[in-house]
C-alpha cells in the first residue's frame, strides 16, 4: 500500500486543515500518511531536520521544498524522478511555464507544486483610506503622497515588522515597481551586476529610505501579524505583505473589499512564492507508490482548490475554477495568468524562489542593514554588489 512520511512546515490551524485534505485524499486512495511537521523560520527548521535525516540515511518520502532548493537537492542526487506522474497528468499544460520550470530538474520533473502565494500585495484599511480620501496607490509616488497625507493625519502610513524577511518582502515589491519586471529579473534572478549597480537600484534604496519614514519607531522585531493587526485596528493604513495576511483579516472576521482592501503593489508584475513537494529517494515499493500517489493528488484539481481556499493562496493549476475564492484571490489568479503571458510572472527572491539561499541571504543582509541604519543608497548598492559577489 502507498505509504508516505511527509515533512512539511504547515502547522498553524488553517494550514493544518489544508494539508489534512491531502491526507484524507491520500487515505481514501489506500495510502498511509505519516505526518512529520517541523515549523519555524519559514522552513529553516524543517530543512535542518531534512539534512540530518538525509545524512543519516533515513530521508522522509516527501518534503515540502521550494524554489532553487529543489534543484540544489537534486544536484546532491537525493531526489526521486516523478516524471511519469507528471506526464500522465499533463502537468505541462496546466501549470504556468515559469512555475513549471521550478518543478523540473535537468528536464525531469522532481517536484509537485501546491499553491501560489502572491507576495507583492499591499493591504489597506478601507475606512482609514476613505476617511482620508485616499485611493489605493498605483505608483510609488502616489504611495508616498498618500503616506505623507496619512502621517499628517496622525496615522501610521505603513505597518511593518522589522524582521529581515519582512524588510526583504517590502524591498522586492519596491524593486519590482521601480526596476520593472525585466529589471527585477536581471537583478534578482540573473544577478546581473550592471543592474545591481544601476541608478535604478539606487532609486529602489532611496524609496526604501522614504518608506522607513512611514514606519513607526517601534517596528523592530514586530511579528508580521501584529503589523496586520495595526491595519485592522486603523492604527496604520497600509501593509505590504504576502497573501497569507489575508488569513489574519479573515480570522478576525473582516471582509475583503469592505473592511480591508487588497491590491498589487505599485508597478507591473507578479511575485510568486510557490510551495511544492519534492520526493526523496527511498527504498521500498510502498513508499515509491506513496510518492507517486502523493504527487498525483497534490496537483489534482480537488486538492488545489480546497487547499488554497483554506490557505488564502491560489492554485498553481490554471484550470481550477475560482468561483469559491474571494476577490483578492480572484484578482491574484487573473494577474497571474496575465503576467504569465506577459513574461512578468516572477519568483520572489525574498521567499527563496529566485536564488540560492546564500545569495538571497546576502541580498537580504544588505537590505535590512540599509533599512535599519542611515546608510546612503550609494553605499547600499556597493554593499549589495559586494555581498552578492561574496556569496557566490
Amino acid at each position: 500500500d502507498p505509504e508516505a512520511e511527509v515533512l512539511h512546515y504547515w502547522t498553524s490551524g488553517g494550514e493544518a486543515k489544508s494539508v489534512a485534505v491531502l491526507q484524507e485524499e491520500f487515505a481514501a486512495n489506500g495510502g498511509t500518511w505519516t505526518d512529520m511537521p517541523v515549523a519555524g523560520g519559514g522552513g529553516d527548521a524543517a530543512m535542518t531536520a531534512l539534512r540530518a535525516r538525509v545524512l543519516s540515511g533515513n530521508a522522509p518520502t516527501a518534503v515540502q521544498l521550494k524554489g532553487p532548493a529543489i534543484q540544489e537537492w537534486y544536484e546532491e542526487g537525493v531526489l526521486a524522478d516523478i516524471s511519469s506522474v507528471a506526464e500522465a497528468n499533463n502537468w505541462d499544460a496546466v501549470l504556468p511555464a515559469s512555475i513549471a520550470g521550478h518543478m523540473k530538474c535537468e528536464g525531469t520533473w522532481c517536484a509537485a507544486p501546491v499553491n501560489v502565494h502572491r507576495v507583492d500585495w499591499i493591504w489597506a484599511n478601507a475606512s482609514v483610506l476613505e476617511a482620508n480620501g485616499i485611493e489605493m496607490p498605483t505608483t510609488w509616488d502616489e504611495f508616498n503622497a498618500a503616506a505623507e497625507k496619512l502621517q499628517a493625519a496622525g496615522i501610521i502610513p505603513l505597518a511593518h515588522g522589522g524582521q529581515a524577511w519582512q524588510d526583504a518582502t517590502v524591498f522586492e515589491a519596491v524593486a519590482l515597481g521601480i526596476l520593472g519586471p525585466d529589471g527585477y529579473r536581471k537583478a534578482f534572478v540573473d544577478l546581473d551586476m550592471d543592474t545591481i549597480k544601476s541608478d535604478e537600484m539606487k532609486a529602489v534604496f532611496d524609496q526604501m529610505r522614504t518608506m522607513r519614514g512611514f514606519v513607526d519607531d517601534n517596528f523592530s522585531g514586530r511579528d508580521w501579524n501584529l503589523a496586520t493587526a495595526m491595519v485592522m485596528n486603523g492604527e496604520a493604513a497600509f501593509q505590504i505583505m504576502g497573501d497569507w495576511a489575508k488569513g489574519e483579516f479573515m480570522a478576525a472576521g473582516k471582509a475583503p473589499g469592505e473592511d480591508f482592501l487588497c491590491a498589487s503593489t505599485p508597478g507591473d508584475g507578479f511575485l510568486y512564492n510557490v510551495d511544492s513537494f519534492a520526493m526523496f529517494n527511498v527504498d521500498g515499493e510502498d513508499k515509491k507508490a506513496g510518492q507517486e500517489l502523493l504527487a498525483k493528488l497534490v496537483v489534482g484539481e480537488n486538492f488545489q482548490e480546497v487547499f488554497n481556499l483554506n490557505k488564502g493562496s491560489i492554485p498553481a493549476r490554471t484550470d481550477v475554477s475560482l468561483d469559491a475564492f474571494d476577490q483578492c484571490a480572484t484578482l491574484s489568479a487573473s494577474d497571474m495568468n496575465a503576467s504569465s503571458e506577459g513574461g512578468s510572472l516572477l519568483p520572489s527572491y525574498a521567499h527563496g524562489m529566485a536564488l540560492r539561499g546564500a545569495q538571497a541571504g546576502a541580498i537580504t543582509d544588505t537590505v535590512t542593514a540599509h533599512f535599519n541604519s542611515d546608510m546612503s543608497a550609494d553605499d547600499a548598492v556597493n554593499m549589495l554588489a559586494d555581498a552578492i559577489a561574496n556569496s557566490m
Partner: protein, 296 residues
C-alpha cells in the same frame, strides 16, 4: 545552620530587623524582575484572541478564558494532527529521564575519578571534556546524523538519548568534579583503609555527600534535554518528536494565523515538568553534608 546570620535572634535588635526587611525586600524585587515575563505570558494565555488583537498586549485581561490552555493541551495543531502538545509529552519523558539519569551518573563517576583518584592525564582528560562543552551543536548536527545512521538508531528515542548523554557529559563531569575537589581527601583514605574499593567509596561516601550538586546537575540536564529543540527536531522522525518540536510547530508557523494565547499556554504547559523538577529537586539543597568529617 552556619549561615552568616547566626545566632538567629529570638528578639532581635532594631537594626537587625531592618536588615532582615531590606533583605526580603531585595529578594522580592528580584522576584518581580523574574516574574515579569511570566506575568505577560499568563495574562496573554487567558485572554481571547480578539482581545489580544485589539487590546494592549501587556494589559490585564478584560475577560478571563482558559480556552487557550485547553487548546494548547489537547487541541492545537502541530501538523495535520490537532491534539495539542499532549501526545508529545511522553516522548520527551522517555528521552529526558534516561538521558538525565545516565549522564548524571556517568558525570558523577567521571568527576569522582578526576577529583579524587588523580592520575597522570586526569586533568588533561578533564580539560578535553570541558572544551567539549563549547562545541556548537549546529556543527555536530550533520556528522552526528551520519553516525546515528551508521549505528542504526537514527530517528529513534535511544538515538536521542545517546546524543543527549554524549553532549551532556561535559557539563555533568564539570559539575561533579568541581564539587568533589572540595571534599577532603581524608574521606577517601579512610574508606580505602576500611577496605572499600572504587565503586564502594563512590556509592557509600560520595553519592550521599553530593545532594546539592546532583540537584544542580539534574536541573541543568533536565532543562537542557527537555527544552532541546535542535537535536529533537533533527534526530527524530514522525512519532518520536519531543514536546519542543510540537511547541515549535504551534508557535512558529510563518504564514498562519498567530494565536498568542495558545502559544503562551503551550509554552507554560511544556515547562511544567521542568518546574516540577525544580520544586522537587530543590528540597535537596541541604547544608552541612560534610560537617564533622575532618579537622581542618
Amino acid at each position: 545552620m552556619a549561615d552568616i546570620s547566626t545566632p538567629a535572634p529570638r528578639s532581635g535588635t532594631g537594626a537587625r530587623i531592618a536588615l532582615r526587611w531590606t533583605l526580603y525586600l531585595l529578594l522580592c524585587l528580584f522576584a518581580l524582575f523574574y516574574l515579569m515575563p511570566l506575568f505577560v505570558m499568563i495574562t496573554t494565555s487567558i485572554k481571547s484572541l480578539d482581545e489580544i488583537r485589539t487590546g494592549d498586549l501587556i494589559a490585564l485581561p478584560r475577560e478571563v478564558t482558559f480556552d487557550a490552555w485547553r487548546t494548547a493541551w489537547s487541541g492545537a495543531c502541530t501538523g495535520i494532527q490537532c491534539e495539542g502538545v499532549r501526545p508529545f509529552f511522553w516522548n520527551s519523558v522517555l528521552i529526558a529521564i534516561p538521558a538525565v539519569a545516565i549522564s548524571t551518573l556517568i558525570g558523577a563517576l567521571n568527576g569522582y575519578v578526576v577529583a579524587q583518584w588523580r592520575f597522570r592525564g586526569a586533568n588533561l582528560f578533564f580539560s578535553l571534556m570541558l572544551f567539549g562543552c563549547f562545541i556548537p551543536f549546529q556543527v555536530v548536527l550533520l556528522p552526528m546524523a551520519r553516525v546515528l545512521g551508521i549505528m542504526g538508531i537514527a530517528g529513534t528515542i535511544p538515538g536521542l538519548i545517546f546524543v543527549h548523554v554524549i553532549y551532556g557529559l561535559g557539563f555533568t563531569t564539570l559539575f561533579f568534579r568541581n564539587y568533589y575537589v572540595t571534599i577532603p581527601a581524608e574521606l577517601t583514605r579512610a574508606a580505602k583503609v576500611d577496605g572499600a574499593g572504587f565503586f564502594r567509596i563512590f556509592w557509600s561516601i560520595f553519592l550521599p555527600l553530593s545532594l546539592p550538586i546532583i540537584v544542580v546537575t539534574v536541573i541543568w540536564q533536565f532543562t537542557q534535554i527537555w527544552n532541546d529543540f535542535l537535536f529533537g527536531v533533527s534526530f527524530s522522525q514522525a512519532g518520536t518528536q519531543p514536546v519542543t518540536v510540537a511547541l515549535n510547530n504551534i508557535v512558529n508557523s510563518t504564514t498562519g494565523v498567530k494565536e498568542y494565547n495558545v502559544d503562551m499556554a503551550a509554552a507554560i504547559i511544556a515547562a511544567l515538568p521542568t518546574l516540577l523538577v525544580y520544586v522537587v529537586a530543590g528540597k535537596y539543597f541541604v547544608r552541612g553534608l560534610t560537617a564533622g568529617s575532618v579537622k581542618g
